[in-house]
Amino acid sequence: MKFKLCLAMILISMVFSVNAMGGKDKAPEGPVTLNWYAHAATLSNTQSEIVAEFNRSYPDIRVNVVELPEATSDKLQALLIALRSGDSSIDFFNADVTWTATFASSGLIEPLDEYFPVSKRADFLPGTIEAASYGGKIWGIPFRTDAGVLYYRSDLLKKYGKAVPSTYDELFKTAEEINAKEGGGMYALVGSLANGEGLTCNAVEWFYSNGGAVIAPNGAIVIDSAQNAQILEAMVSAYQKKLMPEGVLSYGSGDARASMFQGKQVFMRAWPKAYAMSQDPKNSTVVGKLGVAPLPRGPQGRQGISVLGGWQLFLNKNSRNKAAAAKFMEFYAGEYAQKLHALKDTFLPARKSLYSDKDILSAYPFYGMFLDVFKTAAPRPQSPFYAEISGILSTEVQNAMKGSKTAARALADAQAAMEKVGR
């Protein structure tokens, strides 16, 4: 008898739990808790402030911030391990601009066309939308962008009556002249050129700024081109003439900044966040001596082109609270949240209108130039196999820089290697 009762109870509870699981996609009644896998809190804890503001309009949607690891590649690993196991406890998460094709083709995330239709995208910078799109669908809502820029020593340029260079030739000539007059010991250009993603960003900017490309819109690999070879040769010869620090092939972005901040550089290619750091007298000798400008172009380019960095929100395919999650995602990509991040953390907003926002411009006047930079900024090559493409690119560019191959040979090898990726 007891046994039968037990069995009955187990069966009843199973029926109920199956029922509970059945309503997967329907917005649940009553309060829901969303898990947002996000960056670690910034110093000013802006994320919690945004969640609190969101709860004033949506008191029934609790947002629980789960912090991801610091490094982007560690974030990717942590997310992939959880998502591939079918974990539904992640509702939505911060994703790098380069992840779109990979996640979209893996089937781990939900397309957002329903929640983020074309009508809602007008205020976003076109580059951020392009980076969130893959295969004719949109997969991410951008909330933060980034673009490579040129830092220059405004004091030295002024002292010797030089204009901010608009081509790489001008840049190297200007720097050589200034270095000679300053008594030597300075380098023309520095960037994050250690083998890795930083180098990929730099090299892709060289290619784009000389009219070249890496992957054509139809998906064909086009890295082995005359434009790319020309600009790469120019960079190799600049490196070999010691117009860049000799150790630059092992420099991460911190090493590059250190060289600039110690007054050893006339120019530096870096992300905008370096500006705030450069103005801290504790680790910079160039406070008040730096200007920020768009990148120069190569001889065949029409203008300097920055690659886009930045972050967007992806929605887990297995989330049980998609509608509620979409509400918060939209809010986090909205004006209020992006403005707060710009003011408190100097993040670059993904929304055009914020670059003419009075509060932001009075706090950071150089934000004004970014609308021009973003007019031409482009995503890195878009491929589901992005990590492999980027690895090949940075390795072959280093092979050319260190002189173990000609620039043309390195690009031909990169072309051959990239064509094999995914097969």
Binding site: S73, L76, Q77, L80, R84, T102, S105, S106, G107, A194, N195, G196, P245, E246, G247, V248, L249, S250, D255, S259, Q262, K264, P384, F385, A387, E388, G391, T395, E396, Q398, N399, M401, K402, S404, G422
Partner: protein, 297 residues
Amino acid sequence: MTKRQFGYLLISPTIIMFGLFAVYPVVRTLYLSFFEYRLQFGETMTFVGLKHYVNMLTNERFWNAFGFTMAFTALTVGFEVLLGLAFAQAMNKDYPGRGLLRVVVLIPWAIPTIVSGFMWKFMVHDQYGVINQMLRSVGLIRDYVPWLSRDIGAKAILILADIWKTAPYVSLMVLAGLQGIPRSLLEAADIDGAGPIVRYFRITLPLLKPVLATAVLFRLIQSFKVYTVIVALTNGGPGNATESLTLYTLRTYFDAGNYGYGSALASFTMIVTCGIAVCFLDVIRDKVEAGRKGRAR
């Protein structure tokens, strides 16, 4: 239940744990290495037989990584053994300050690899590295050398950094071995007229063999799987000059999401390390048995 069955019952948790956490992952990795299985293709797995192994063995990048890993392993372990033997002798003698020496020698071993890697990166920096300053002040170089931007330089610094860090470990193992050698043996040889060199090569070194073999085995396997120091110092650069097998495997498996080919690389590394281990297990077991026989006689 017999005594024997009860014995098996008692060790069963260990065996189950071992199976779950050691055997299963290994078998699964081997299994995956025969499939095309990628992040980008969702959960679809296609059997491709030995395709990944053929690709691997015809891939220049693989041979480059394998060659560097072999050279790195041979050089680091070779120097570490020589230095370890020398340090251990110095630490074994009785003199004032010996305790201090023992502590000082161990400091590099106590520093986490990632930290010592970054430390070396600062020391060899092309603009403000202390090693460049020292070499220039004694007149060995005229201009600062960008060590990590050159193939040979980057390889040499990695090997140096690893030797610096791990020689203390070998010396500690050898020291333990030295302390296990009965003084009476050395004294008897001394009385029979054997000089210090003969004593070292005829008595000390042969008696150190089991402990040395263990140390070398551990070091060979660790060195063959080198990863952390490379990530801190060169991240595989310049170009692919310092990409080790493990770095290549992790980049393929985790960064690129190429689980099939990544598993083939991991399986290859595992087969090599198992091969090393099997060679040495013989040496170690022979010694143990020889020791037993010696005592029995």
